[in-house]
Subunit: 642 residues, 2 copies
């Protein structure tokens, strides 16, 4: 709804038209380019052209400043090529898959869930005689797509008689396709490897060194920016679902018993759209909540998670993401990995709908435990107590032999479930075992209950003196999909305005100076060597001030030159119309002030670096309105500003 | 020689000891970490830990400023995953290989040239009874290793009886192993791809769009920073020969008839070590030349190439590369690709010898022509003449039929050689053909002369009116191996100094502020809440000024804390010893000045950004020498400075 109103503000009809307008401008101005275009491209691979690349490097520089520098994070830089053992431990070799079906004659591959979704969508949109009951069924299927197993998907495809969309040939049963790009390390062919699907694993395997680097103290955060890869079966949605992308990830390691955050108070007053689990379950709309309240009420699991949600909100809105089209959505219990304590996605509304752009998850100790088990290296933290502490410890000792005898192949899962019991549950089990000799026990990894008998497990509480605590830290992981954020930023920044003559629409990207690809252009008003010399002087001063800029000395009318830079999102334009002073124009208001040649570079620097606002500049320098340059009328034609 | 003197300055014996000292410091302080260490690592893959990662991002930021911003280059960002067709066109699929031999029993792989080199080196170093003649032979083999064909290498290995070093098993014949990491794009298994071996191809395939973006004007440069991959057979030399690395590449497109550069005069007075081809041929030492002279005398092919050599010199020395251990070496004719017009490597001397860190090549029109041919898309530039020009054009028309009849399989190479003739040569060939009916003609791609007869080629000069020139631009390519530069920088920056007590050596990295991983540390002199509050205030001011810094509030002695930060290469340390004023210490001189708390962040910012030098600071603020804090003696022990 919100988007639609924005879209119509922009004069366009619907989402597709709006998107086409943005994408046309982006491609024409080389914000991005389909990769290897002269060879007809490769689906899901895109280049950033010059302005896109500049936006990306501005976004990454700000990310470093906002997160790494501000929190003193330990940034690392690990290779993309990753040996199999690492991704075996992390679970990616076994589980990083999508379900695929093949055209049985041509071998063309499709994502099984896409075909089912397309079928249902098509029916719902086009079949006007669809009975209410069927419509409900299709809607239900679409809502639960992600939960369907391969078998369930296969039987639905069969039931609906879905065939290969291009050939109408029959389809194979769905089977899992691993989404990692596989390769081989070294010449022997004996060392399988993959291109990393995320940057996080590079941090986890270095935990021990990083913890030491931090003086063996928790909490601390490590961060990494880098490429990640995902060999999509059939990429769709343009820049949003690609086969190679830049991630910026943070792994904040914390004592699981203390997830408070000293700087939480700095963000606790922020109010923005959140969509907690309960609201989603009841199909209520999302709403504005105060961050402090959301943590206090337990909507958000802990302060550290809340702190990063708040910082992420500030990050995205500083870039120019519209806060009215940004929400933080909590994962439903069935969306979350079983080990996760809580998980929130920053979702940004685009013409494709709500897009997950940042995931902020409390992954508990899962990753460090997995690598500890696989590598045999203890990825743990130690906290020495000032005084030895007497503690009552829960001791759960399953009998491998007895459990194995009864549950055979499920032995491991039952034992893990027993060992994972929290104190209250364990005490309940013990009481039952003592009273009745057996108890029904739900094993979540089996999805069913089993009957435990007394000889299978001993549960006790023992008093011990402890001098230190040794534990696997929890990790809170904010993970940023940089390309998705940038695409949404493009959409949120784009608008059109009529040219004065009314004969064409002008495209504008309203990037804040922080992310604008070029901060400033320099135009001699007319082709005249005197003006060009001044332009070059200003250009030198801007280079010295490290302001990225562009001179345009073509003879094109000034109005056209403004229009060109508006479409690149350049916030300021300096027009040289005398030897002593020049005008500075702001992109969105089209206001102009007159500034002396000597001062102009530092004025632009101030307003670009955020040390001044445009309003400050307006109050400091005389407004210039002697000609309405946007319309290409040079002199003698004085309009008052609208 | 130069290095040895540096090494002994540092008190160490030889190159290996020096290197071990650097590498120990680098690994201990996590400048880098062998990747996936907890899984016993993977040869040729390294992580940058926190300080290494900071150095890397500083180097890249400066590269962007020094090249991209300064020259208004068009920066792009293309994927690493590359479809086969692109790398087929570029020649990598066929030619990006090393010769490999296999242990015939175990299958272990070795680089054939490495085994031969090791054998010769070993003989020369250890066999004291080696006859002079044999020694000469081994030296000759080592000098010509790169020129040996697979056959020649194989017969040398046989002749010397070289076997697998680990098992003494016999070896296979050498065969080429492609050094690209292979993968498969999409699920079908029908789209082979590779991880790019360089970033340059992403620029070449975009030439048409980039030329348009630049207003269809030459010259212009495009640039790219990104990962590249090389599946080494058996990586050696630590950080210098790795399987994944960051490249920063520039492709400067220029009219082949005009390779002048308007800014060449800005660098023409620079003098530094150059090693032109002729000096190498005559085994003379390299020497200091003035850049302007080197271009004027034709040592360097053209101004644009010279300009980038000069800018590269400035770039490397600004980072802290020692100009006495930096030279620009011209490629010998046999080192250069046949299409290259000229090529110079920036070589930096390290404990491994002279290391190629930047290649600056005039690649003529090779790459754009290759992609034009493969893709069918014309990657050309057009220059419209103000007036039509009458031109005399050389027209060389080989007869495919006649050439094919005589030369069969070599037809293509002969024809290409004919078409590539320059005017003078063509006229000579024509004169000879007319006079004698035949001529000996050297075909460089065959390495031999062939006999041409009159019916094989027609050569004429024709007058034409031309309205424009359509041509494939030449490309001048400066290509920076960022990891190698950083490793050499580590070696050049490293030194040790005795602690006052003389009981241990202190390691120091003398990074300039520009590249230092952390610019400044903040220490309360003693653990005292008042001092800690001041330290926090200063930290906040530094964060606001965007100066990366670190607080160290551990109770460790101030001398130890200085030593720690010296080993990280932190240039400045602020010590809080009162509530009003603090001391600022410079790392290399160990000089300290006293500055007020309010001013200190801006002082550190000035000297870090390069707006002031430390000498300026010394003249502006009172020297502080009331205690010799480096030795951990706090008060009452007043030394005069040495």
């Amino acid at each position: 709804k919100e988007l639609n109103s924005r879209v119509s503000e922009n004069g366009g009809g619907n989402r597709d038209d709006f998107r086409q307008g943005v994408v046309n401008a982006l491609e024409r101005r080389l914000f991005y380019i389909p990769s290897f275009k002269i060879y007809r491209g490769v689906a899901g691979l895109y280049d950033y052209g010059p302005p896109g690349c500049a936006v990306k490097s501005n976004v990454l520089a700000f990310w470093r400043e906002h997160f790494v520098l501000e929190e003193n994070m330990l940034e690392v830089d690990c290779p993309c090529v990753t040996p199999e053992v690492v991704l075996k431990a992390s679970g990616h070799v076994d589980k990083f898959t999508d379900l695929m079906v093949k055209d049985e004659k041509t071998g063309t591959c499709y994502r099984a869930d896409h075909l089912l979704k397309d079928f249902c969508k098509d029916k719902l949109e086009k079949d006007l005689t669809l009975p209410e009951e069927k419509a409900m069924e299709y809607k239900r299927v679409m809502a639960t797509l992600d939960d369907l197993s391969g078998k369930e998907l296969g039987s639905k495809l069969k039931e609906y008689g879905i065939v290969a969309p291009d050939t109408k040939n029959p389809l194979s049963d769905p089977y899992p396709f691993n989404l990692m790009f596989a390769t081989s390390i070294g010449p022997s062919g004996l060392s399988p490897g993959y291109m990393r699907p995320e940057t996080a694993q590079g941090i986890f395997v270095n935990f021990k060194d990083l913890y030491y680097y931090n003086g063996n103290k928790l909490p601390f955060a490590a961060a990494q920016i880098g490429q990640a890869f995902r060999n999509e079966i059939s990429p769709r949605q343009g820049l949003l679902r690609v086969r190679e992308f830049t991630l910026a990830e943070i792994e904040h390691f914390v004592d699981p018993d203390d997830k408070s955050h000293p700087k939480f108070k700095d963000v606790s007053n922020l109010e923005f759209f959140m969509y907690p689990r309960d609201e989603q379950k009841e199909a209520k709309p999302f709403k504005k909540l105060q961050l402090g309240d959301a943590v206090k009420k337990g909507n958000i699991n802990n302060e550290t998670l809340g702190y990063f949600i708040g910082r992420t909100y500030l990050f995205l809105t500083s870039l120019g993401i519209d806060k009215e089209r940004l929400r933080f959505r909590q994962h439903m219990a069935n969306e979350m990995a079983h080990y996760a304590a809580d998980c929130w996605d920053a979702e940004i509304e685009s013409s494709y709908g709500w897009i997950e752009c940042v995931g902020i998850a409390d992954r508990s100790a899962y990753d460090l435990r997995a690598h500890t088990e696989k590598s045999g290296v203890q990825l743990v933290a130690q906290e020495k107590f000032a005084e030895p502490r007497e503690v009552e410890k829960l001791v759960i000792t399953p009998s491998k032999k007895e459990v194995g005898l009864v549950f055979k192949g499920n032995q491991k899962k039952v034992i893990e479930a027993l060992e994972a019991m929290k104190e209250a549950k364990a005490m309940e089990v013990r009481a039952n075992l003592e009273a009745k000799g057996e108890v029904e026990f739900f094993v979540c990894t089996l999805g069913q209950s089993v009957t435990l008998t007394k000889n299978m497990v001993s549960i006790s509480k023992e008093k011990k003196k402890e001098h230190q605590k040794v534990f696997i830290p929890s990790v809170i992981e904010p993970s940023f999909g940089i390309g998705r954020i940038i695409y949404c930023l493009f959409e949120h920044s784009f608008y059109t305005r009529p040219s004065k003559a009314g004969d064409e629409q002008c495209n504008v990207f309203r990037f804040p100076p922080l992310v604008a690809p070029i901060k400033c252009t320099v135009f001699p008003l007319i082709q005249k060597s005197e003006y060009e010399e001044v332009a070059k002087l200003i250009s030198k001063a801007l280079t010295r001030a490290r302001i990225s800029h562009k001179i345009d000395i073509t003879g094109t009318s000034i109005g056209k030159r403004y229009a060109r830079t508006d479409e690149l999102g350049v916030p300021f334009a300096i027009t040289v119309d005398s030897s002593n002073s020049v005008t500075v124009r702001e992109r969105d208001s089209k206001d102009q002030v007159r500034v002396s040649v000597d001062e102009v570079a530092s004025v632009v620097k101030d307003v670009t670096d955020g040390d001044s606002t445009w309003t400050d500049i307006l109050s400091r320098y005389p407004l210039h309105s002697s000609y309405s340059s946007d319309e290409g009328v040079l002199i003698g034609d004085i309009h008052s500003k609208s």
